[in-house]
């Protein structure tokens, strides 16, 4: 019997507690006092309280210093988890600020509550090394996201997307749970480190890849592959990105990606340590690395090639997200400390750029009634500041220097190539990634061409952009430029935390 230090547990979970309290506060305030006000006022107050809660949690995380590992990895606290949690909270605040000017719902309190609950799920997700906690927090995150997707009740697309998301998500959760149960069977433990030592023992006994382990591995990859929208588990992504209300889509595309990628990496690199195998050219060794190498290659190919033919900007962003998931999976293939740093840098800057891009799409949708490419015609003349921000976001996604996306890519490629032994064994993946990012420039330029080259449709005048959104967009664009010109600002934090 292990004595649980309740006080310590509570103290470790204090940031999460703050967020949950803020969530309940928002709900109570909205239901009790603000029902009669206009939606915008309600959204402003709710978002303000929620943002304060998140900021409080960030503050608490910044103050916390200790390293902790409660109950064999149930709850972990170290500089790395704190860094990821801070990133998640900042992204949540930005999503809340973007959603202030939304008009798609009357249920403001519930909407903000769900965003905060999803955030809580993500925070627990990244702070755990235990299969049970990982699964439960993943479900908390996923269930909140399903509802957030369906929140636009007036739009049939939104419900359809949510249903698809839910069905696919339910199935992948089943896969994940199945895999986890097999892992428990193998190791008699739900802790990642113990699972890893059990796998190592199998190795020592001469069973290099136990069939049960193979099944566990594949189902786990399927489950997480769904969360990160990697091909061929990506089918929900285009519909959700297109159908969900813009702030929800932005949230799914940014914050939930950060959390999922981080925990995916932890599960594979810590939990499956010992069953890696190798994907180096002409040195294939079975294990999870070759599986992920194939998933990565497929995602890059499919995402980039299908994005070319999209005419809806949201779907285009969805396919580009699949492609970016492919790039990020490269970090798994090399699974070193350096590649974890590269992954975190990449996913953080990617989240900023995508969040910004969705913010711009949201404004354009509200003002022109759609997100087709044609709706972006002549945007640079109608909303110059917004267009400049979009210019930066899309080029960062395409990996053009001096923007953050470029350094993210280069650092990722360097970390993949630098893997020992046998440098350049993974060159084939890097070549594919670089070739595909050359393809990606084509479709990002299609959007920018509409904005800068095409003339605005007749009768359209300057676009009114909500001031708060504009400020958020400019901040995000500034961050993307700054992190591109001075990557070390973020990188040295990540490197110190690792």
């Amino acid at each position: 019997m292990i004595a649980i230090a309740n006080a310590q547990l509570l103290q470790l979970a204090l940031p999460e507690v703050i967020v949950v309290v803020a969530a309940l506060l928002v709900l109570a305030m909205d239901l009790l006092f603000l029902r009669t006000y206009r939606t915008r006022v309600r959204f402003t107050i709710a978002a303000a309280i929620a943002s304060l809660g998140c900021a409080g949690a960030v503050f608490q995380l910044l103050l916390a210093q200790q390293q902790a590992n409660v109950l064999d990895g149930m709850l972990v606290a170290n500089p790395l988890t704190r860094l990821v949690q801070i990133a998640l909270l900042i992204l949540t605040i930005l999503v809340l600020l973007i959603s202030v000017d939304s008009t798609f719902t009357e249920h403001v309190g519930e909407y903000v509550l769900l965003i905060l609950l999803a955030t809580t799920g993500m925070m627990f997700l990244v702070a755990s090394q235990d299969l049970l906690v990982i699964f439960v927090s993943l479900e908390l995150l996923s269930l909140s996201l399903y509802i957030l997707t369906a929140f636009d009740k007036r739009s049939p697309r939104s419900s359809e997307a949510a249903l698809k998301y839910f069905l696919f998500g339910g199935m992948s959760a089943a896969f994940l749970l199945f895999g986890f149960s097999l892992l428990y069977g193998l190791s008699n433990s739900t802790s990642l480190t113990r699972i890893a030592s059990a796998i190592r023992n199998l190795h020592l006994n001469g069973q290099h890849l136990n069939p049960l382990l193979v099944i566990a591995l594949v189902t786990t990859v399927i489950g997480f592959g769904f969360k990160v929208a990697a091909a061929p588990f990506h089918f929900w992504a285009p519909d959700v990105y297109q159908g969900a209300p813009a702030p929800s889509a932005a949230f799914i595309a940014s914050a939930s990606k950060v959390a999922s990628f981080f925990i995916f990496f932890q599960v594979m690199a810590v939990g499956f340590a010992g069953a890696e195998g190798s994907a180096a050219w002409s040195h294939f060794v079975p294990g999870w690395v070759p599986v992920l190498a194939i998933v990565a290659a497929l995602s890059m190919l499919l995402g980039n090639l299908v994005a070319i033919v999209q005419s809806s900007v949201r779907r285009l962003l969805a396919y580009s997200a699949i492609a970016h998931a492919g790039y990020m999976l490269l970090a798994f293939v090399s699974h070193t400390q350096q590649s974890l740093a590269a992954l975190l840098y990449y996913v953080a800057t990617y989240a900023f750029a995508t969040l910004g891009a969705f913010g711009v799409v949201a404004v354009v949708e509200e003002r022109t009634g759609g997100d087709r490419l044609a709706n972006f015609d002549g945007l640079s003349r109608r909303a110059p500041v917004l267009s400049a921000c979009m210019f930066i976001f899309l080029l960062s996604l395409a990996g053009i220097p001096p923007l953050a996306g470029f350094f993210g890519k280069v650092y990722l490629f360097v970390s993949v190539l630098a893997v020992t032994p046998g440098p350049l064994g993974l060159l084939w993946l890097v070549v594919l990634a670089i070739a595909m990012s050359a393809v990606s420039l084509y479709y990002y330029l299609q959007v920018l061409k509409r904005m800068y080259v095409a003339s605005p449709s007749a009768g359209s005048d300057r676009m009114q952009v909500p001031i708060l959104r504009q400020v958020v967009m400019v901040l995000l664009a500034g961050a993307v430029v700054l992190l591109g010109c001075a990557p070390h600002l973020l990188l040295h934090w990540i490197l110190e935390a690792i």
């Binding site: 220097p401 890097v430 990012s437 050359a438 420039l441 061409k449 800068y452 080259v453 070390h488």
Partner: protein, 505 residues
């Protein structure tokens, strides 16, 4: 050091232009011109002070310490020469865009962004930094052509961008691999050039990086972006593309591919395919094909601007061939040719795009002939005749010096190819002559129809621009020592040690 300010001033100018109030066209172009002149003045001052041509550190500061990447700018004789070229083309490009009214602010902003990035490439010593600037160049090119261009502009712009981006992707693969193989400690050119890369690595990395850069230099058969891009671009952008951007490619070939992987260039494969025994033979042959092919195709064009577009391919072939000679005279000839072609292509595109097309709204040689333009706009005719003479290599102009040096170098290295080059030069005379005749002089016997309404006269900025460019060509033609004095020491610097050890004659 002041030289770094060329980059900052250009970017700052671009930013200021965007902040100007709407509709201030006149102040936009004056601001752009002042920016370009300031950058040129800085370069010229440094050029005058720094007469030895050796590597000169401009700025050096840690940038991304965990990867050993530095913000390191440096210049030697080769980069100084090309910086001067950039300054001249930037100024004259703005002079020839003086009539720009449509979204002028944005035009000059993109223009200065492009110029600033070009300065950056020529000044970068750290290869990561060089690559950053090299890729920044791509985006403004696209918008300059797609927004302000003519004939099939969106197609031309996209084609150009994709070619450039594919090229830079190849360069990126090579650079990242080289960085990792060398121990992932430094991206500085000197450090990587000193590292003894294994031969088998150099054997694939060299062609990869070389072709990646050479795509931008118009290497046959990857040249097809050049004519369509040049034709679609507005005048100032064609001047920049042909004058400066193609030089970025050639500069990258010399500065990066050849210094990093000299063995990949020199070492024989150990077997022969069609008589070719090393990458050097292959690229020399491709360069010669480019020279002859570009000239032949230019000979049969109906569109005036396409003639100039293909002539660029032909002339850039000389540069690449000069690089492949690997002897001092050939290499310095290649650098002089970069300068010379930059100036002359700029002038030719200015005459065709600004002086002729903006006035007559046609570039069809058959339609231009009957207008008898040498009567209507005599200055344009004179400028074109002079530029044509210079580019076909008449003594007294820069083209002569450059081509002569390259020919001597080729004669020493590949005697057989020298004959083919001779053919290329003869065809070069023919297409220039044909274009001149058809565009400016009505054929004897046909009725000349003066254009209606009468063409507006050549303006002062145009005259000024043409005189600057012709002047630059004549100065280098009469006194090539001016730049050779800095180019030769640069080629003899430790950076090119690897190449010299191989086969420097």
């Amino acid at each position: 050091m002041m030289l770094a300010w060329t980059i900052y001033i250009s970017f700052l100018g671009a930013l200021l232009l965007l902040l100007l109030p709407k509709g201030s066209v006149a102040s936009a172009r004056v601001l752009a011109l002042l920016t370009a002149v300031a950058c040129f003045a800085i370069t010229l001052t440094t050029f005058a002070q720094h007469r030895t041509g050796e590597m000169l550190t401009v700025v050096r500061a840690p940038w991304i310490p965990s990867l050993g990447i530095e913000y390191h700018l440096a210049a030697d004789g080769i980069s100084l020469t090309l910086l001067l070229l950039t300054g001249i083309i930037a100024i004259t490009g703005i002079l020839f865009s003086w009539n720009m009214e449509h979204r002028a602010k944005e035009f000059f902003a993109f223009y200065l962004l492009l110029i600033g990035a070009v300065y950056g490439v020529f000044l970068s010593y750290d290869l990561f930094l060089l690559f950053v600037f090299y890729e920044i160049v791509i985006i403004p090119k696209y918008f300059l052509i797609a927004i302000w261009g003519s004939t099939r502009r969106e197609y031309g712009a996209m084609k150009l961008v994709l070619y450039s981006f594919v090229g830079s992707a190849m360069v990126l693969i090579g650079l990242v691999a080289a960085y990792v193989v060398a121990g992932a400690k430094s991206m500085a050119l000197g450090d990587l050039a000193r590292f003894p890369f294994p031969l088998h690595f150099q054997m694939w990395a060299f062609p990869l990086v070389f072709v990646g850069f050479a795509i931008l230099a118009g290497l046959w058969p990857f040249h097809t972006w050049a004519p369509t891009g040049h034709v679609a671009a507005p005048t100032a952008a064609s001047m920049l593309l042909a004058g400066v951007v193609m030089k970025l490619g050639a500069y990258g070939c010399l500065r990066v591919a050849m210094t990093l992987f000299p063995l990949g260039l020199i070492s024989p494969w150990g077997f022969h395919v069609l008589g070719l025994g090393s990458w050097r033979d292959v690229f020399a042959l491709l360069a010669v094909i480019g020279i002859v092919y570009g000239a032949m195709v230019a000979l049969v064009q109906k569109d005036f601007k396409f003639v100039i577009g293909y002539s660029s391919v032909s002339h850039m072939g000389f540069v690449l061939l000069g690089l492949m000679t690997l002897n001092q005279i050939g290499l310095s000839g290649a650098v002089v040719q970069m300068f010379s072609h930059g100036i002359l292509a700029g002038l030719l595109f200015a005459v065709v795009g600004r002086m002729v097309y903006d006035r007559t709204h046609t570039r069809d040689l058959a339609a231009l002939g009957p207008m008898n333009l040498n009567k209507a706009i005599p200055f344009a005719a004179v400028a074109f005749v002079v530029a044509g003479m210079a580019s076909m290599g008449l003594p007294g102009f820069s083209g002569f010096v450059a081509e002569l040096m390259i020919l001597i170098g080729v004669w020493r290295a590949f005697p057989l190819l020298a004959i083919c080059v001779g053919i290329g030069i003869v065809v070069g005379v023919a297409y220039t002559w044909r274009a001149m005749q058809k565009a400016f002089f009505a054929e004897a016997g046909t009725e000349s129809i003066p254009p209606q309404p009468p063409l507006p006269p050549i303006t002062l900025p145009e005259r000024l621009g043409a005189i600057i460019l012709i002047g630059a060509s004549v100065v280098i033609g009469l006194y090539p020592q001016l730049i050779l004095n800095v180019i030769v020491p640069a080629l003899n610097s430790p950076l090119f040690e690897g190449l010299r050890k191989g086969s420097w004659q």
